[in-house]
Amino acid sequence: MKENKNALLAVEDVSRYYTVRRRVWRKENVRAVDGVSLKINRGDTNSIVGESGSGKSTLARLMVGLEKPDEGRIRYLAVNLIDLDKKERRRFSREVQMVFQNPYASLNPRKTIKSILSKPFKVHGLEYNDDTLKGLLSRVDLTPPSAYLDKYPHELSGGQRQRVAIARSLALNPKLVVLDEPTSALDVTTKVQILDLLRNLQGEEDLTLVFISHELPFLKPIGGNVSVMYNGKMVEKGTSEEIFSDAYHPYTIGLLNSILEVDPREAKKREIFAVEGETPSPVNPPSGCRFHPRCPLAEPSCSENEPPMISISESHQVACPILMKKLDGKSLDRSSIYAR
């Protein structure tokens, strides 16, 4: 196998199961992540989008080593995470960081910002001083930084807290930062600011970002590569342009169609679109393609065979052979596939 020199983190055919007890005597597996592969290249921005239960957050936790895969492997700089020795493990935890959705929960309410930001240095036994911490605060636009050091999280707004959480993740000069829904808990106006901040970080050398989100529209301005997950499976991945304007999976197309029009004058002209049906439970996923019960293009074979990932271009892959076949090189109005 050819080794990609730029691959920072490679998720290879990874599955993660959770055991749930539905009856006293019976245990069942929840396939939270099921056979997912993803390559994160150095310096690229990656987004993973999916609804609740799609496995996106589990994938995020797997990527930063908070969970271990039950099958498959995750390699950081070509070394399997479970093969890391103690020293390498410490290096990994320094270089790979995570930011969580809720900045009200991820910052200890009893510690000052100074104490929160100095913790990573203490854990890893690294030198720091007030200027280092102030530098971090100004990197996330909390200025003047000296005004924030002695504050407690409750004295800050939601946006400011998320900035502190981001500053902490940047403290040890990480190579990879995984952000799990970093803006979902914030107001629209604050969201814009955090997004601006993250877009500035995107440009920084040697920093790779992974966004996990359920808000498809907000991923558009971020660009980079987008992976779409559904019910534990990767259904489509490609560049932002490919996903937003040239999607091949009926689920991705359904998601794009259900983005609401913001201009009321435009909204009046068009019906609200909704993909019918429920998101299936990962305990008992549908056979074959997991989207087939909701899919307008489903054929009998869809419930029998799990569709493989098909390459459309070097960067674009889709786990649905049907639309490809239907299109057959011709162009098709993608919004019409759901029309009855």
Partner: protein, 326 residues
């Protein structure tokens, strides 16, 4: 035009008591909902929009007090009713659905029991058999497939989308004339959000419902609301028809909100006002002043007037007469 007003809130003031001092959450809110109209209250968290909804239904937390104002619903002042009378209005004439659908459902009762119980409370003459029939009908109406099966389930066995449908069915069981929807879709997935939105829109037609929509999501407002009230720091700062608000926003906060949404959609815009929330320095002058970029000297001296414009728009701003360059 004014005669078909279903709900009228006049000069409402609500404050919360906290550690001896009192904090004003809503000041001087005045708005109306007409019959079969969807009116949205939009604003960021802490702007007072949910407090208004709770005040209308008189379900405020214990430390909250309505200090001023009237809430007229079908020409009765709800604030003057006894608790017993109010209980009849709640659920019968006005229903409410919440962000977390599970909070409107009783976790230890089967869906069927909750629905039939509610139906029979409002309609004691109806037999149990008929009530079950009506419950099945309601579930069909909110497009729950296989209604009979769902009747035997507990709330925790339902997905968020299903639970919200059941909560809506429960709310509609008494044929209310007003539905208050507090962030009805924000806890739901994108595809399910669209389903619930479609449902509310359809039900407005079927039941001739009026909807008071409480949200921070502008796209929800654009797709559902006929008129909008924009809230900032406890005050209504602008009101207009949805089209007018979007096409010609006048209050600097509305402009900021719209620009922020545009920006999130990838349109490159420089935001004119300060984005981060800033505590109003004093409540007597303009509360948006610390963030505003369009300031004139008068903003500092006197509270802004609520100016009505020929288009029907009203704006709480000294500079309301001039269109904003965007």
């Amino acid at each position: 035009m004014m005669d078909d007003v279903l709900l009228r809130v006049d000069n409402l003031e609500v404050s919360y008591k906290q550690r001896g001092s009192s904090i004003e959450a809503v000041s001087g809110a005045t708005f109306a909902v007409r019959s079969n109209e969807c009116v949205a209250l939009i604003g960021e968290s802490g702007s007072g929009k949910s407090t208004i909804a709770n005040a209308v239904l008189r379900v405020l937390p214990e430390n909250a007090m309505i200090t001023k104002g009237v809430v007229i619903f079908k020409s009765r002042n709800l604030l003057g009713l006894t608790e017993e009378q109010m209980a009849k209005v709640r659920g019968r004439d006005i229903s409410m659905i919440f962000q977390d659908p599970h909070s409107s459902l009783n976790p230890v009762l089967k869906i069927g029991d909750q629905l039939t119980e509610t139906i029979m409370t409002h309609n004691p003459a109806l037999g149990r058999g008929k009530a079950v029939e009506r419950a099945t009908e309601l579930l069909d109406l909110v497009r729950i497939p296989d209604a009979t099966q769902i009747l035997g389930r507990y709330p925790h066995q339902l997905s968020g989308g299903m639970a919200q449908r059941v909560a809506i069915a429960l709310g509609l069981s008494s044929n209310p004339s007003l539905l208050i929807a507090d962030e009805p879709t924000s806890a739901l997935d994108l595809t399910i959000q669209a389903q619930i939105l479609k449902l509310i829109k359809r039900l407005m037609g079927v039941f001739k419902l009026s909807v008071l929509l409480i949200t921070h999501d502008l796209s929800l407002v654009s797709n559902l609301a006929d008129r909008v009230y924009v809230m900032y720091a406890g005050q209504i700062v602008e009101e207009d028809y949805t089209d007018g608000l979007y096409g010609d926003p006048r209050h600097p906060y509305t402009v900021l909100l719209l620009d922020a949404v545009m920006k999130l959609q990838g349109v490159s815009i420089t935001l004119a006002s300060a984005i981060e929330f800033r505590e109003p320095s004093e409540l007597s002058s303009c509360r948006f002043r610390p963030r505003c970029s369009a300031l004139s000297s008068v903003c500092r001296q006197k509270p802004p007037p609520y100016v009505g414009l020929p288009s029907g728009k009203k704006v709480l701003c000294w500079l309301s007469s001039s269109s904003v360059e965007r």
